[in-house]
């Protein structure tokens, strides 16, 4: 893992950042993720207010959005790309607790410190909000708070599924569950396909599934040998979904 640099709260004129507010064509009006993101709870009339406190920001692949333990100055809505969220131990062991896809919100808890580190897996585009401005915006809009709470409840449920996976599933079950999951998530954001894009590295997958890179690789190879999937550049083609679903039940 190369070190990821924080790019937050600096408007140093880097070509990867747009610091102006994003009204008009780049605003919420034509946002592709709005309907299934937290913003979907807002009336059109309220969107303007949200727009006013949001900034569009770009993070190149492998750069850090924020670091575990740091003061949570911002919250984010991912609009493009993939973000990995992880915790690590002092000796370097790492556990990825989730991948954020377009429509996902970072900083749901609205707590004053980040509980995880967030890094761009691919180039990433986000709507950034200062946390204080966002909290103020939520204040007096209980329907938005309710939506945030629904999202948090969903996250919690996913986390519990992942605990079951990490605590009790075999390597093969983990890999298959991961791929099916990824496919379902891509479908939900309007990219349904038997070919699932897998843009994160084997190391990322391993750190997400509590395995080693070798075990992930061997398991994928085995599944390919058994013709339930084909490994393609930057993805996987799921040939036998029924069989996959039998491998990774409930």
């Amino acid at each position: 893992m190369t070190a990821a640099q924080p790019l937050l709260d600096s408007c140093s004129g880097s070509p990867t950042q747009e610091c102006g507010h994003s009204h008009g064509a780049t605003g919420c009006d034509d946002c592709k993720v709005r309907s299934f993101s937290v913003c979907g709870a807002l009336e059109l009339s309220e969107l303007e207010g949200l727009d006013a406190i949001s900034q569009v920001r770009h993070f190149p692949a492998k750069t850090m959005l924020f670091d575990q333990g740091a003061l949570a100055g911002s919250v984010f809505n991912v609009t493009n790309g993939i973000v990995r969220l992880y915790k690590s131990l002092p000796d370097g062991r790492r556990q990825i607790v989730g991948f954020a896809l377009p429509g996902d919100f970072l900083g749901l808890a609205l707590s004053d410190r980040y509980g995880v580190t967030a890094e761009a897996v691919t180039a990433v585009k986000v709507c950034r909000f200062s946390r204080s401005a966002f909290v103020a915006f939520v204040e007096g809009r209980p329907h938005l708070l309710r939506r945030l709470h629904e999202f948090a409840g969903h996250e919690l449920s996913l986390a519990q599924d992942q605990m079951l996976l990490l605590g009790r599933r075999t390597a093969e079950e983990r890999v298959v569950a991961f791929l099916l999951n990824l496919q379902a998530r891509h479908a939900r954001i309007g990219a349904a396909s038997v070919t699932v894009p897998v843009l994160m590295s084997r190391q990322d997958i391993a750190d997400y599934l509590g395995l080693t890179i070798e075990t992930v690789s061997r398991t994928l190879t085995k599944l390919a040998r058994e013709k339930v999937l084909i490994i393609v550049p930057d993805g996987v083609r799921l040939l036998n979904k029924e069989r996959l679903e039998r491998i990774a039940p409930a």
Copy 2:
């Protein structure tokens, strides 16, 4: 594991249930967990309204409060005892995703189905609310919703810690982290002590830590042999907390 029977939504006159509303001496006024439970967000004037929709209920050890996947008719505030929350696989493998102690809220997500199964580890006392009544009560009290959201954020953070534990920690680290955690939680609810009550079975601990009962037992024995703790009936006495904290780092 013996089968646990659901005891919900039936007021059949069982001696373990109190079906009347609990005003007066048994109400919120003198509730020992109020300050650190979700109810702590309410004004004294609002407590009456909450009291009016709450029922005190008792669950004997090993009985089920609710089942994963069932319609969520009720939400609960635990006031006494310990509840295990778990998910299981069709073949019987089980992952306990958390233990609820007094002050903990069950059904935080307010979703329409329970995501986990809840069973009493010890005899348990709860405040029960019908979910619809509780949701209606929350409606129009954004400070309570905010409190629920804070609790959910905290739960999410704990879940992420547990993912790190399950995915990347060794057996010894898991057991030690569990004991330190339990001690800290007991301290927070006003029962700080070097002797930590461990009222759940070895099987429960194993299913929480993603280990087998034998590994939990061996690990505890080893720690006792090394004099960092003593195993006592229904608990553990932590002798060398510094050393324990070195075993299970942040």
